[in-house]
Symmetry: C2
Subunit: 645 residues, 2 copies
């Protein structure tokens, strides 16, 4: 008997020959799980999500609701067959999250999704005996009948206005016809918060925003817990088709809920007045996500997105209330989705455009968003074309053996000298644990520059210290095992004698294989070819592009020169490049705060044309031509050619 266990989000496999607890298996696999009590089931810190063959006794550390969703204690759950395990942020050790920066364009006027309006309403008299609601409307500057009031609130309103001495704070939903979302019998106008949310296939990033000032109070990010059901959107859709839609909806809700709990805790530290923001004070949310992620959150079946002709249920979702979507902020809070253009160019890309400002400029701009998928937009204020390509997750650490996301211990910069000595820099200067996107670009660029690999990405030099055969090609060592971080073992585990003590795992070598390089080249080729096709569709060339915006989590750290060296970015003047960071979050932030930006988002949606590449021969041609370093046509990269060895 032998079975497999896969740990997420690390995506580590382990084969077991006999039943073992999740904690034991994780330990063996080098996956770090918190276990403060040493595996006795006392501390409840080792909560994991389990999908597959596992036995567990109920624990009072886990609520009934969580239990039904598949949450278990790692230490008391026994694996007996093939299983997937998700280790959440809070149960991990050492995985410090990086708060991703984001760029938001200018918001000229504060017109947030919701407003908190303190008003002193004139009490009724015989000469002025308008109804209570009409008095409140007038104080808010609204015509009679212009304010919608939920029935329960209408029933309470007469008491509230009188209890308060006619001094109230009206929380007003401004997403459509003004709607009262709450009413308080004192001045709470200083406490109105919103959330900007970027739902990526891999990562979810959330910013808590003061809707009065437009300032970010706190930010948090985590893996999308759905990745245990499939790494890319196609896998998620397949999982939904297998009856997993509600499961996926619950997982993204859990991801969001965890992040909300994080920013709420952080708000105590970050707010100048030290007063924690409570969930009920969060009255609005603006979400940018790719079309599939938005479908899954809304509980819409994404099936049609997967099959020709690739249509979504909607690209312009209506505004719903938080309680309708089961998001735990103020129940009446409006949840706004940035509209998407198509099934594979979603609200996240429209949000990118808003952040860049390219839709307001007369300059021709190119926007590239590299996430689990790659999307490209070309255009200016008059026209826009867009497309999507299956770039693959190489730059997010996927499909590369030593790849990882840009977290503590990730190698983010690499240099290789003429003697093939490797120097690198890690995030937070921790011991290296893997290579993130910018490190991978550096690695390929440097290996190409030093002649370690050829134009096709194949390792050319003889075996030696850093080069050896893997049986399936060669690999190049970036960091030896002595340099790398040891798998952390909790003290309690170390203190245990017996077999587990003997299994202490050494740090692993960090290498790049022929196969890894091929994956990186495929990814860069797809992105470059997509840009190429868009330009051709407009009868333009890269030289005509006046601005290049680079969006996506990895974008802040890449070395443009090296990205050009490998043919990921075009060889045009370097001052045309701008990094936007997490521009999707930036765009969501802008729509949270500005009705003008929400109108612009709809205008971008209406203006943008979508090119379907999956059925495009032109794309396949350009992709094939780009499967070289930097490109089949070296004349496209004059600066690379001039530096060639």
């Amino acid at each position: 008997m032998s079975f497999q266990v896969r740990f997420f989000p690390k995506n580590v496999d382990i084969t077991l020959d006999a039943p073992a607890t999740v904690l034991e298996a994780a330990f063996t696999a080098g996956v770090e799980i918190n276990s403060a009590c040493g595996g006795k089931g006392d501390c409840g810190r080792c909560k994991v999500l389990v999908e597959g063959k596992a036995e567990s006794h109920h624990s009072d550390k886990i609520s009934k609701e969580d239990w039904n969703r598949g949450w278990r204690l790692a230490c008391t759950t026994r694996l007996t067959g093939d299983t997937a395990v998700f280790v959440p942020e809070e149960s991990r050790v050492g995985d410090l999250q990086i708060y991703e920066s984001f760029t938001a364009g200018e918001v000229s006027e504060m017109t947030p999704l919701t407003t908190a309006n303190y008003v002193e309403v004139p009490p009724p008299t015989l000469d002025d005996n308008r109804g209570d609601v009409e008095r409140v409307c007038a104080s808010l500057g609204l015509d009679d009948g212009a304010l919608h009031i939920p029935l329960d609130m209408l029933r309470d309103l007469p008491k509230i206005v009188r209890d308060s001495g006619w001094r109230i704070t009206a929380m007003v939903d401004r997403t459509g016809r003004p709607t009262l979302l709450d009413i308080n019998n004192w001045d709470t106008s200083g406490r109105n918060f919103g959330i900007a949310l970027d739902i990526g296939t891999t990562t979810v990033v959330l910013a808590l925003v003061d809707l009065r000032t437009g300032k970010v109070v706190a930010q948090a990010s985590d893996y999308n817990k759905q990745i245990m059901c499939g790494e890319d959107v196609l896998a998620r859709i397949a999982f939904a088709e297998d009856g997993g839609l509600e499961r996926l909806r619950q997982l993204i809700l859990e991801s969001i809920d965890y992040l909300i709990s994080q920013v709420v805790i952080l708000s105590e530290v970050c707010r100048p007045d030290g007063r924690k923001v409570c969930r009920e004070e969060v009255t609005a949310m603006a979400i940018a996500g790719n079309t599939t992620m938005v479908h899954l959150l809304m509980g819409l079946h994404p099936k049609q997105i997967r099959y020709d002709p690739y249509v979504s249920v909607t690209n312009v979702p209506p505004v719903y209330k938080a309680k309708e979507l089961d998001i735990k902020i103020h129940p009446e809070a409006p949840i706004y989705f940035v509209p998407g253009r198509a099934s594979y160019v979603g609200g996240d890309i429209v949000a990118d455009v808003l952040s860049s400002g390219m839709h307001l400029s007369d300059k021709v701009s190119l926007l590239i968003d590299v996430g689990t998928n790659g999307e490209v937009v070309l255009g200016n204020r008059d026209w826009m074309v867009s497309c999507s390509c299956s770039a693959g997750p190489a730059f997010e650490g996927g499909e590369v053996a030593s790849g990882m996301r840009a977290m503590t211990g990730a190698i983010e910069k690499i240099s290789i000298d003429r003697d093939l000595n490797v120097t690198y820099r890690t995030i937070r200067d921790d011991r290296p644990r893997g290579i993130c996107g910018s490190g991978l670009i550096d690695a390929v660029s440097e290996m190409f520059a030093r002649g370690i690999i050829d134009k096709k990405g194949k390792i050319q030099i003889a075996n030696g210290d850093r080069v050896r055969d893997t049986g399936d090609g060669k690999e190049f060592v970036i960091a030896f095992s002595k340099e790398t971080k040891e798998a952390s073992v909790s003290l309690a585990m170390k203190a245990k004698s017996g077999i587990w003590g003997a299994k202490t795992v050494q740090g692993k070598e960090i290498t790049i294989t022929d196969g890894d390089i091929l994956n990186i080249i495929r990814t860069k080729a797809a992105l470059y070819a997509a840009c190429d096709v868009l330009l051709e569709s407009m009868e333009m060339r890269f030289d005509d592009v006046e601005k290049v915006y680079i969006a996506g989590g990895f974008g802040n750290y890449i070395d443009i020169e090296k990205a050009i060296n490998i043919g990921l970015l075009p060889d045009i003047p370097r001052d045309r490049f701008t990094f936007l960071g997490n521009a999707a979050l930036g765009g969501a932030f802008m729509t949270l705060l500005s009705s003008e930006k929400r109108a612009e988002a709809l205008a971008v949606y209406e203006k943008m044309t979508y090119l379907e590449l999956t059925t495009s021969n032109a794309f396949f041609d350009r992709f094939t031509s780009s499967l070289f370093l930097p490109h089949t046509d070296i004349e496209r990269f004059p600066s690379v050619k001039s530096r060639a060895p």
Copy 2:
């Protein structure tokens, strides 16, 4: 031991000395209750609402829900103390309802609250891969994002459009931003119905309307079941203040529900295709009601309406869904309320104005609505003033011993000749059971003309056949007991021997007392004084009034000449008077069908000024001057003066 039982809606009291069943008590009191099985508890036809001291065993003829609301079988419920009993229409014998006519002005364009739109949606292709919702929007002629779709419906939409081969019927709520209220996968556009509803303090009238053609399918009316909790709005408010708000809400819901069940049954007969309308096909409702009735239906506390400065929670209620208000038609159906001007000039009066068309005319018009209260509006398309007066329920049969509503057996016309012989006509030529409003006006007019009463309304002639002392003044006999209808006794009851058989009640005399006449004079004086004050406020006289509209259930049958004789209506050319019938229902009907009329209703609300008469010395003066027949100032009634004996 002795206790009182009051029967509604007849408003008959009986004192009992020993416990008795409701059926026995009703029989003794002359209140007709259906009892097909003879009081064995078998037929379930004697359902009544009981409030007070009564004991009853559960019956399988009454649902658990109804039981909890106080419904009992009259035959098996034993009264042991003071109790109120409501006998509903369906448990009454012989109380045939009159379908009240209504006048509706012209609706130039059919823009009902909801529309049923059959559309053939182009299926998606690779060249046109808009989302499902965007395709449906375009087919409906709406911009992307312009249609709100409830989340559940959005989740079902992809399957429905595909199952139907992209041919669907979209039911769209047009009250605000277009909202999908249902979607069918075949052509149901021919089946879309709405309800116009007039909620009066005493009566509820309902019309089922085909929203495609604007034709009335069926109509029904009944007492407002709330009258067992108080006859006028002040009594209802007091009941609500005593913790009875939810009870009142349930009672009006039951009244509405019963009428809906009636029109649904009638629809089978009335529809040309013979297909019964089902409740789910009723997708909209427009309601005209006085402010208190609207509050009670919405569950809003009407308390402030009763106390200085007499303000309502709102005069412009938002549109809610049927499910929110617990009205059992299509759960997503919008419920629209015609806006009211003030606490005592409600949506019913604004609906009257719509029906009359006075708000579109340059002629100065006067509108008088006589119901349980009296309301008056003066104005034209440029300006409007309104007021309300506690006219009292005399013209609806209240506060007059032999008064009754305009139903089968009501005396509606009376003549008295010089020898004091009385001739009369009853509704449906049945045996006389009482006198309705038009009959009372005739009676007073004729008694005044024949010198039976003086200017103050006091009976002047000596006792005789038709005139006698009551101990508290005199009374005049309109119909002797031999002419009047016997209390109907069910055959089964008659067959029973013993005490009940001995109690068979003879027909009662129908008389008019000094006190009755005083009540009628008070009512007419209040109405006339209210008109007077409105005219004075605009520095006008009755002669300046170019049109007089008379609204309210009683209005269709009154004799104008006799109404002028008693000083109820002003002595102006007769061709200026127009009867509108139930104009409140007519106005509700118009707003159900036309967005233009809904806009006009809001414009009337905005244009109209309200005069508070309770604090007006001018009103009290004019009222006092009007407490004569026809008026203190006889010069105001030249034609009456010229005919004076």
